[in-house]
């Protein structure tokens, strides 16, 4: 507490020279520990073979990682990698299309005054409030009438529109695309499409990357939609695939090691993605640009 209540008599220019605030540092480290425990556990548990999993201490590394890996590879002719590829496809393409649709829509809402603007915007935002299952059931029934249920389309199409993405781009467009620049381009005879694609999109790029990443994570993490839409397990994304694996494993704990190794491999790409692009991802960007 004393560290907290110490008044900062330094001028703020010499942050490094100040004394460490121990209470905040400790709180943050405890939070870090809590967040890392399951991840650390899954990393270690994936190295254990079946008997080690149930017999040795949880945080003692085992010897079976490569066996687990090859077993996972062999499981049903490598269907695990099919699930991974499906997830990459759903999340990658879905997020790309989502960023494009949000870019156009958010730009229109953020940089133009037109009749019905607020109505359209509020209506879309209200869409966020609709519980996912309220949409998923009729979407499934309608898509099956068109013969599209249990197809790649049934997972991809409902994932494209992100009201949150439109909202974010609207704010971002209003903050980062100067009206004067648009006017100047119009004076020079540029078409609206050209202004959008050549001027607005590059200026909104950090915001669009944020939308892409948000939607990528949202689609990758989605469980309810594929659970409702898909029956053919070669089209499953990784989330649903691992779930069905565990559901079978409930009757045969031999599959536990497969599920654990599968969990580890499934979270690695996303964690890697986060670490690599965190400079784009850091949301300071949004507030930072708006502040200036």
């Amino acid at each position: 507490m004393t560290a907290l209540t110490l008044t900062a008599d330094a001028t703020g220019k010499t942050a490094k020279a100040r004394r460490t605030a121990w209470v905040p540092t400790l709180v943050l480290l405890l939070g870090t520990l809590y967040c890392l425990i399951p991840i650390a556990w899954v990393v270690i548990a994936a190295t254990k073979d079946r008997s080690e999993l149930f017999s040795t201490f949880s945080f003692a590394p085992g010897t079976g990682f490569f066996d687990n890996l090859s077993e996972l590879n062999a499981y049903r002719d490598g269907i695990y990698w099919q699930w991974m590829a499906n997830s990459v496809f759903y999340a990658g393409l879905g997020a790309l299309l989502s960023a494009a649709v949000s870019a156009a829509g958010g730009y229109a809402l953020g940089r133009f005054a037109f009749r019905g603007r607020e109505f359209i915007f509020k209506l879309m935002l209200a869409g966020v409030l609709v519980p996912s299952i309220v949409l998923a059931i009729p979407q499934y029934l309608l898509l099956s009438k068109m013969g599209l249920a249990d197809s790649y389309w049934s997972m991809l199409l409902p994932s494209i529109l992100s009201p949150y993405g439109v909202y974010l781009v609207r704010i971002y467009a209003a903050a980062s695309v100067p009206t004067e620049l648009m006017e100047a381009a119009r004076m020079d005879g540029a078409s609206e499409w050209r202004i959008f694609s050549r001027i607005a999109v590059p200026m909104m790029m950090p915001g669009l990357i944020t939308v892409f990443l948000f939607q990528f994570v949202a689609i990758w993490n989605n469980f309810l939609l594929p659970y409702v839409m898909l029956a053919d397990d070669t089209k499953f994304p990784i989330t649903l695939g691992l779930y069905t694996l565990l559901a079978q494993g409930a009757s045969q704990p031999a599959l536990y090691t497969l599920v654990i190794t599968g969990c580890l491999l499934a979270i690695l790409p996303l964690i890697g993605l986060f670490l690599v692009i965190q400079r784009f991802w850091s949301l300071d960007l949004l507030s930072g640009s708006i502040k200036s």
């Binding site: 309220v134 059931i137 974010l168 959008f196 964690i271």
Partner: protein, 331 residues
């Protein structure tokens, strides 16, 4: 017409939604020439088409289904034997007499009472600590606490599910070593804590970033002024920071309430590990159960519509309250 200031154009969104990430940013409509008048509509076409196809029409279809039922002719065999007939509000009266759904809503509320205060309290605490100028390792901690957001909910639930299993969990190992009682985390009231922990683990980081982003948008001069007046970091946090980020807190609270009503992933993931979990534990599970396992899409649609209406009423009440509150605050 185009140069007329639009009503409400000074606000980016309804109520506190605008203040969460927007930080008092105003949208200045551009004065488009006659030539560009139709442009915004063209830019909105893809979003509107998708919105119509995957939000408006499905909702309409769900409402239509909820007002119908199937009538079986004869012995119910053959293609013409099943016919959809008007059922008025019949499905809705069934919803309110269905105690299974009522119980699932109560369970969701109980779960929310644990999750929301814990998660938002931790998120606010971490955000304030990150914003303390002298805290060490803040960038590292920020990334690590945010990391669970990258883990799919179902995988987070699977990992925690294993950590709750006495045969593989390090916690049980420690409890055993110290001779402490070993609770069954898959039973009765403990189930709520087990689910809540997974949600808190997955959600705290995201909410922390939302609040932290709002904190970072506060001009540093305010703090300098407060420090010159002799305010401590603790005082600054309580008297300046928390009131300023209140709209973000309202926003995160609002989304957490909605997420709570829709809890699905955590209980679904732990279901294979325990027999103590009814298949209609949460409202969404109850709806899924009646639509696909009991094949009653009409009743399920009515239940879904009721849940959607309840979400709307709850949301608008919350927005109203927060709107009034923040306005009084500003005055």
């Amino acid at each position: 017409m185009t140069s007329t200031p639009l009503k409400g154009s000074d606000r980016t969104a309804v109520g506190p939604l605008a203040d969460g990430t927007g930080t008092a940013q105003t949208v200045r409509p551009s004065r488009t020439g006659r030539r560009g008048r139709s442009a915004p509509y063209w830019f909105l076409v893809p979003a509107l088409v998708l919105f119509a196809a995957f939000t408006v029409i499905p909702i309409g279809y769900a409402i239509w289904l909820s007002l119908h039922k199937v009538k079986i002719k004869g012995i119910g065999l053959g293609s013409g034997a099943r016919e959809q007939v008007w059922n008025g509000l019949g499905n809705y009266t069934d919803v309110f007499q269905n105690s299974e759904f009522g119980h699932s809503v109560l369970r969701a509320f109980g779960y929310g009472l644990i999750v929301i205060p814990t998660m938002l309290g931790l998120a606010l605490l971490f955000a304030l600590m990150l914003d303390t100028p002298k805290a060490r390792s803040a960038p590292f901690a920020r990334l690590m606490i945010f990391l669970p957001y990258a883990v799919p909910g179902i995988i987070a639930a699977l990992m925690w599910g294993f950590l709750y299993l006495p045969s593989v969990s390090p916690f049980y190992y420690l409890l055993d070593k110290f001779g402490l009682p070993q609770p069954n985390l898959f039973d009765g009231g403990n189930l709520y804590l087990s689910f809540a922990n997974i949600a808190v683990w997955g959600g705290t980081g995201f909410n922390m970033i939302v609040i932290y982003t709002a904190l970072r948008a506060i001009p540093q001069e305010i703090y300098e002024a407060a420090r010159i007046d002799g305010a401590s970091d603790l005082h600054i946090a309580l008297k300046i920071k928390i009131p300023i980020v209140l709209p973000s807190l309202v926003l995160t609270f609002f989304f957490s309430v909605i997420a709570t009503l829709q809890v699905f992933t955590e209980p679904m993931a732990l279901k294979p590990l325990t027999n103590a979990l009814p298949s209609s534990w949460s409202p969404l599970m109850a709806i899924y159960d009646s639509a696909f396992l009991k094949s009653d899409i009409y009743g399920a649609s009515a239940t879904a519509v009721v849940l959607a209406l309840a979400t709307f009423v709850l949301s608008f009440t919350l927005l109203r309250i927060s709107d009034r509150y923040t306005r009084e605050d500003a005055a």
